[in-house]
Symmetry: C2
């Protein structure tokens, strides 16, 4: 009963679950709500949406799935804090990027073979991977599920009861 | 290379990582800071600490590891929102519970055999588990890692830069 397919199902469950929760939350918030700070002096919902897109977009190259869609998001949403005041994209554009990227990743994931999930991601060298085989693509996706949860909890503060 | 041991390592990595991050964060905050709301009108750090302890304490029975240590935390920190105004434990007591519980779970996890991780948890019936074998104890721990991350992101708002 314990096999690769079962592991893959377990590993993807958290990713799919939190991606859906976060997507539903973003959809339930108006542009005006998203533009608010999630707490006084803390990141806005817009910044966190851009941040999640940038982090997920990087997964394309980390998982050898081709070229990234939105590398221009790294500077304003990943490499710099919101307080750096870099120019941000407008919210409808970010919402579109979120959907397009999720569709691409879902399609790519569906095409992956079981053995692909247990192959190394590009941030680990072949040498290191030989010693640390847990640093594979499925593990990357599992880590990203918790990363979504982290910011999901913060964006939730924009929700009016 | 893909075997049960590898997947157990992958599944526990997120749990151990976020438990450490959350523990370090709680330790870095004074009792006065923890007692603050994480955002205006939102849960205090104290409530979230109690909430995480209650959720993790429930894992003892869910994973067939014996009797729970702190079932009395369910009412004030799990079944009721903070706004219900139920009597809360003092912060030093909660800090002690957090450490004791983490030590117990770590010791119990270390004693589990590989096959134990892929056995059902108590919230799924034997019948359902036969159809859904991914609902095992390792999966429960993976889900709890993301749950820690969710609240970690909120407690982080108490941190003064």
């Amino acid at each position: 009963m314990v096999n690769e397919q079962l592991f893959i199902k377990m590993g993807l469950e958290g990713w799919n679950g939190y991606l859906k929760r976060a997507g539903d939350l973003f959809n339930s918030l108006t542009d005006e709500q998203l533009a608010q700070e999630t707490a006084p002096g803390k990141n806005t919902g817009t910044y966190l949406l851009g941040h999640l897109i940038a982090v997920h977009d990087r997964m394309i190259e980390l998982m050898f799935l081709g070229e990234r869609l939105y590398p221009e998001l790294d500077e304003p949403y990943l490499k710099n804090p919101e307080s750096a005041g870099l120019a941000k994209l407008d919210i409808p554009t970010l919402r579109g990027y979120w959907n397009t990227l999720n569709e691409k990743l879902a399609a790519d994931f569906a095409n992956m073979k079981p053995e692909d999930w247990f192959a190394r991601h590009s941030a680990v060298s072949e040498e290191d991977f030989a010693k640390e085989p847990h640093r594979n693509r499925l593990n990357l996706v599992m880590n990203r599920a918790s990363h979504i949860a982290w910011h999901y909890g913060q964006v939730l503060y924009l929700k009016v009861k």
